[in-house]
């Protein structure tokens, strides 16, 4: 068993092989482009958002990975839910997510998105983000450092390149009833209009 750089290179190569064996050249190219142009919606919830400015600016400079911030959900590919989410915020988050165009991915940043974190007994924050939205990548920590977030992005790039049907937006489309039921249960009468008709003509 090799160690260090060689092992890393070999693992990359074997992954490359598996990608090559399952995807056509065009698919590979599209997946490669996708993985290297991730546009992030410049939006933050919770305290984890404070780690995003250093990630995006010169110190950690995530733009070298092709990650850029954009101002509107229509242009974005990635939504970072950066911490605790109150029901009020979650309504806006869901709306933003539904406005984004496919393919789109969600990164859950911080313990709060995973299991409630230190707000596990708060009356005004949700405890499991993936009940309501399909999360592609969780980055744990309270709060995660930019290195962790970058690691999350790199893992997400790998996931995108594999082009699997596990991607969040496909899950959201296929299991919309499940997500919708959870949203309705939390928001009651104030739930946003159903998104289902927008799936017509897809698949």
């Amino acid at each position: 068993m090799e160690e260090g750089f060689n092992a890393y290179r070999q693992s990359l190569e074997s992954e490359e092989q598996s990608i090559k064996s399952t995807q056509s050249v065009v698919e590979q190219a599209i997946a490669w482009f996708r993985a290297h142009s991730m546009f992030v919606l410049a939006y933050g919830t919770g305290c984890g958002a404070i780690e995003m400015p250093p990630t995006f600016t010169s110190r950690y400079d995530i733009e070298r990975l092709g990650v850029v911030g954009v101002a509107t959900p229509r242009q974005a590919d990635i939504l970072i839910v950066s911490g605790y989410c109150s029901p009020k915020t979650l309504k806006r988050v869901i709306r933003s997510y539904e406005q984004m165009s496919d393919p789109k991915y969600i990164i859950g940043l911080g313990s709060c998105t995973i299991n409630g974190g230190m707000y596990w007994d708060s009356y005004n924050t949700i405890k499991k983000l993936d009940d309501f939205l399909p999360v592609d990548m969780y980055v744990n920590g309270c709060m995660p450092r930019p290195e962790a977030l970058i690691e999350g992005f790199v893992k997400l790039q790998e996931k995108i390149r594999l082009n699997s049907s596990e991607a969040g937006y496909i899950k959201y489309r296929d299991n919309y009833a499940h997500y919708r039921a959870n949203q309705e249960r939390l928001f009651g009468a104030q739930v946003a209009p159903s998104y289902e008709e927008n799936f017509a003509g897809m698949n």
Binding site: S86, P87, K88, K91, I114, N115, G116, W120, D121, S122, Y123, N124, I126, K127, K128, D131, L186, F187, G188, A189, Q190
Partner: protein, 177 residues
């Protein structure tokens, strides 16, 4: 301040903090006096304390003076249920949002403030959550799902102690060898 102390029963708490207790009837007039006849021009905080055992709330208006070297806390006891206090928006415009928050968190009414609708909580049906009879844990358990693995609730303090002691003794053993 010396002048004020002759007219009001002001207690000095620290060199820069004073406290004054007033009744609900004289609350607005006192604040009006402090705002216009004295130099307490800033309302920096508006707080509410729930003394559930004594069945009352305590409102606290934290005023700061022009030179910014003196704070005066004007306190007032009010009932817990269906109370309405005169709003001080006309004296301190910033009170609008503070009163709105207290209305949402404690259910205190403010007469003359017309922004007392949803603030941080949207469509809240339950008791105002900062009242002490509101059972937060029961509310959370009935409204949210927890992820498995959070429920073991182990007391990790003991474990940490044991681990630290083990590390220490290992270090000592190494040092001795």
């Amino acid at each position: 301040m010396q002048n004020l102390m002759q007219h009001f029963e002001i207690i000095q708490k620290t060199p820069t903090l004073y406290a004054l207790h007033v009744s609900i009837e004289t609350l607005f007039n006192t604040l009006h006096h402090l705002r216009y006849q004295s130099d307490f021009i800033t309302l920096s905080q508006l707080t509410c304390t729930d003394w559930i055992e004594e069945e009352r709330f305590e409102l606290g208006y934290m005023l700061t003076n022009l030179e910014r070297n003196c704070n005066l806390m004007v306190k007032c006891f009010i009932g817990r249920d269906d109370v309405t206090v005169a709003s001080v928006v006309t004296l301190f415009p910033q009170a609008e949002v503070m009163e709105r928050e207290l209305h949402e968190m404690f259910g205190v009414g403010f007469e003359g403030n017309d922004t007392l609708y949803d603030f941080a909580l949207e469509d809240w049906q339950d008791l105002p959550p900062m009242r002490r009879e509101f059972d937060t844990l029961a509310y959370v358990q009935s409204h949210y799902d927890f992820r498995d693995g959070r429920d073991d609730n182990l007391d990790v303090k003991e474990q940490i102690k044991i681990r630290k002691a083990a590390a220490k003794s290992a270090k000592e053993a190494q040092g001795g060898a």
